[in-house]
Amino acid sequence: MTTAVDTGLYQRVQQFYAVQMRLLDEGRAQEWAATFTEDGEFGQDRRPEPRRGRAEIGGRLRKAADALAARGVVRRHWLGMLAVDPRPDGTVVTRYYALVIETPAGGPSALHLSTAVDDVLVPSGDAFLVRRRYVVHDGWTP
């Protein structure tokens, strides 16, 4: 609660996510995968094993994006309620919510998914790379 977050860091993290989510929604799998570290890990509550490494992370997005395109469906990720915690080791721990809006050709748009996400970011130039991500899907049931 008492961590002072400097506004510059907060805005840079927000910018990073805006870019990253745009790549995701546009299905730009290789560029999206490059926003993770080489050994990046992508875990979620609905899959027991995390995806590891850029090739696997990007490969999964490629398949998912192709499937959506085949159905003529567009998805947009809206990210908000972002908490940013810089750590002494230089990493940045974040927690945020993301809503996914889904729109079929001709509409209408509807909320598709509500999630909560925990990330560990490492600085990379002016931006960041995701070292570890864990996504909780609200309402998911095995």
């Binding site: 609660m1 977050v5 908000g80 309620m81 972002l82 919510y97 909320l111 309402g139």
Partner: protein, 139 residues
Amino acid sequence: MTLESFYVRQLHLLDAGEVDAWAATFTGDAVFTQVAPSGRTFAGGAPAQRRGRAAIAGALRAAVAKRAGSAVVRRYWLGMLTADPVPERLRTRFAAFNVETPLGGRPVIHNSTTGEDLLVPAPDGGWLVATRRITHDAA
């Protein structure tokens, strides 16, 4: 801590059902008022106006207990935040809605509201809520 970060952390505590940590973001004598549609009842029979940190915590504790039985996930989103300084305090206004997702179901926007807070500086450099008034759009 930025004002935006204060609200994000406060609402994360609320969504996580961290009742005591959430209540600690209010002053001991804080007043929390909900302007809801007439006939709206609150979990545990909490009044629409809660006076003091203990009463504020009690209302949330009852709501958390009620929701735990329903397996619905609720998350608050806050935005459109503005702040006006008043002597030694900060008057804020914002919009907030919550998204509810039932088990196995799709999320829906459950309740859209506007809020007005009076914040006082906290000893640790952050803020404490002295008064909060949440007006439900349905009211």
